[in-house]
């Protein structure tokens, strides 16, 4: 009797409507939202889709979305790995501040710029290693562990700015600005840089066992430990990866404005990065890394920001529209909410 009940309910669930399965797929809702934004754009600001080539470079709002979205997307894919371990990295904005200050300081000191590039990456990785040390070795909860650097990092950046007597921290560097604002052919260099880093990360996670290890540590730490996965080492490396990605983002952002501004550079970037991961369907409960979906999430955010600027609305609307959009995406992803809406329609029908 019991077994019959069970089997019949199983067959029922296997016949569940494919529409429902599709709606539950993680890629659907972000894509729907992106499509809606683009359609609204097509109606309100048709010039959004215009493309032109000026001085051998590709121009247009769509290119702008990719161009400005590079640094946030870099931070977001690093965040995706950390969130995959059931962690979180609040310190990314502060890491950008520290790396930026180091770049400005060493350029003033006259180091070769090629060395500075690697030094900047090293500083990013070192910051990530500090977070990883707190989380993996001292067993501190990620949100607090990274809160420490988040609070102190901008202060450290300000102090580095003061090393050469608090003079103007602006600089010029052919190499760094070439990486950031330059272009190879019609394509901005930073997009190529991003593609290279993404491929590197993708190979690291999906063509070695590292990705599987990260997801198992995030999904079920005890089981992972019993299965012989060195969970401390995996957690540590996740924060190092986040520091690495953020280091690259910092190089792009700092070279972009030719100066170090520890107080306001990349403000709220940790929040945007976490949003990108969540919009991309990653759960803060860990256990999953969706690199491609995270980029989609970052694109949704950046498209929205650019659209608001293009539409001629005051930029003040930016935050509020972002908040509403995030809530809508999250509500659509919530089973309880979908159930409530469906039962509402069911009652009316």
């Amino acid at each position: 009797m019991n077994t019959q009940d069970l089997s019949s309910s199983e067959t029922k669930s296997s016949f569940a409507p494919t529409l429902r399965a599709m709606m539950a797929h993680r890629a659907v809702w972000p894509l729907v939202v992106l499509a809606i934004i683009l359609i609204v754009n097509a109606i309100v600001v048709p010039s959004f889709f215009s493309l032109s080539i000026n001085n051998g470079r590709l121009f247009g709002p769509i290119v702008d979305v990719f161009y400005r979205g590079t640094a946030p997307a870099l931070i977001a894919i690093g965040m995706a790995v950390v969130i995959g371990t059931k962690g979180i990295d609040l310190s990314v904005g502060s890491i950008v501040a520290v790396v930026g200050a180091v770049i400005a300081w060493r350029i003033k000191a006259g180091d070769p710029h090629f060395v500075i590039l690697w030094l900047a990456l090293f500083v990013g990785i070192a910051c990530g290693a500090w977070n990883g040390f707190l989380v993996a070795v001292l067993d501190i909860q990620p949100i607090i562990a990274t809160l420490i650097l988040m609070v102190a990092g901008r202060g450290i950046g300000l102090l580095i700015n003061l090393i050469d007597g608090g003079t103007d921290p602006s600089f010029t560097s052919e190499l760094l600005q070439g990486l950031s604002v330059g272009s190879i052919g019609p394509i901005p260099t930073r997009l190529i840089l991003f593609a290279a880093i993404f491929l590197f990360l993708w190979f690291l996670l999906r063509r070695t066992a590292l990705g599987l290890f990260v997801e198992s540590v995030g999904g079920n730490p005890e089981a992972a430990q019993i299965a012989g996965i060195p969970s401390r080492l995996i957690k540590f490396s996740a924060y190092v990866i986040s520091g690495f990605c953020t280091g690259w983002a910092a190089i792009i952002l700092t070279a972009d404005v030719h100066t170090s501004d520890p107080v306001s550079v990349a403000l709220f970037s940790e929040l945007d990065a976490i949003l990108a991961v969540v919009i991309g369907g990653g759960s803060l409960m860990g256990g999953r890394i969706y690199l491609g979906m995270t980029i989609l999430g970052a694109l949704v955010i950046q498209t929205m920001v650019t659209s608001i600027l293009m539409s001629g609305w005051p930029p003040e609307y930016n935050l509020i529209i972002k908040a509403v959009l995030v809530l809508i995406i999250l509500l659509l992803q919530s089973n309880n909410f979908r159930g409530a809406v469906m039962s509402l329609f069911g009652r009316r029908a």
Binding site: V151, A323, V326
Partner: protein
């Protein structure tokens, strides 16, 4: 159960040590005048920290505090300019704080969205709403504000407590009563300690979650009112990143972000430690303001390591007995 007072004890020790050390270098710090100012200038941070302490004890987090403070100020100033009575306006913004908090709590429980993300959208929404109302600082001057800003309770030794400090102390007492002498308070600790057992024991999850965030919204709204009246203005950028200070104050006050452990009373000392750090650095005069951030980060680190140590000695003691 004396162990649960250990983090609070550590907080008070650090506060006393900082206070004495600062006082030895700059004897003026010992005056009641400076002490009164510490309470007055940081009343809004401590109020926000009290609210977020409830949330953190329940195992959640509230990032919308700073934006709530900015939004409340902007609304107060604009409604005042439109001719509303200031006391009515204060009731309206406090009610808004409760309702918005309750809304966040509902989303968290009913839609099963993480508190971090829900209150993050609150951070964006309220800050964006303040920007939409106006971009500049709007003056807030009326009979109630001038009456409130002239409340002084004299302390022996030339110091005084301002109206803001008195409101803060009164609300602290209310919070302590809620946390330790009501069923709701016990439920908050139960949820933070172990959600599953709390549900099994019959703790009303949805009602409690909604009430926790409503309470946090209420306390941030009060913090916003105090801030707006102290500065006599509504400024849409007010309270920027203040949620971090409030969370830091709460953690320094001995609340564990893992939930279930903490004291509302500790928020007072956590806030005062933050205040003391900046006061000592300002008294010094030669140190750069950046040191405030670094010292705060260092103290956070120290505290978290101490808490880790206390927790691990807890659990090992549990295993042996």
């Amino acid at each position: 159960m004396k162990d649960r007072y250990l983090p609070l004890f550590a907080t008070i020790s650090v506060f006393v040590a900082l206070y004495v050390a600062g006082g030895l270098f700059y004897p003026r710090i010992f005056s009641t005048l400076v002490f009164g100012h510490l309470l007055a200038d940081n009343a809004f941070i401590i109020l926000a920290a009290i609210g977020v302490t409830f949330v953190i004890i329940s195992g959640g987090i509230d990032l919308s505090i700073g934006s709530m403070i900015g939004f409340v100020g902007v609304v107060m100033a604009n409604m005042d300019a439109a001719g509303w009575d200031p006391i009515v306006v204060i009731f309206i913004v406090l009610a808004f704080g409760i309702l918005y908090g309750a809304f966040q709590g509902f989303l968290i429980d009913f839609c099963e969205i993480q508190p971090f993300i829900v209150t993050l959208s609150g951070l964006f929404l309220l800050r964006g709403a303040s920007f939409m109302v106006n971009l500049d600082s709007v003056p807030l001057r009326n009979y109630f504000v001038s009456w409130f800003n002239n409340i002084y309770l004299d302390l022996p030794g030339g110091g005084f407590l301002t109206g803001g400090a008195l409101v803060m102390l009164a609300m602290l007492v209310v919070a302590i009563i809620i946390a330790h002498f009501t069923r709701f308070g016990t439920n908050v600790y139960a949820i933070g300690g172990d959600k599953t057992s709390a549900v099994l024991m019959g703790v009303p999850m949805r009602k409690t979650t909604v009430m926790i965030y409503a309470l946090a919204g209420f306390y941030s709204a009060i913090a916003g009112v105090i801030y707006a009246m102290n500065t006599s203005s509504g400024y849409p950028l007010a309270g920027m990143t203040l949620e971090l200070s409030a969370i830091a104050a709460s953690v320094l006050g001995g609340t564990m972000l893992t939930g279930g452990v903490g004291m509302v009373f500790g928020a007072l000392f956590g806030g005062m430690i933050l205040a003391l750090i900046s006061t000592i650095i300002i008294f010094n005069g030669t140190l750069n303001g950046a040191w405030i951030l670094i010292a705060t980060g260092f103290l956070l680190f120290l505290f978290i390591v101490i808490q880790r140590w206390v927790v691990s000695s807890f659990s090992s003691a549990g295993k042996t007995s």
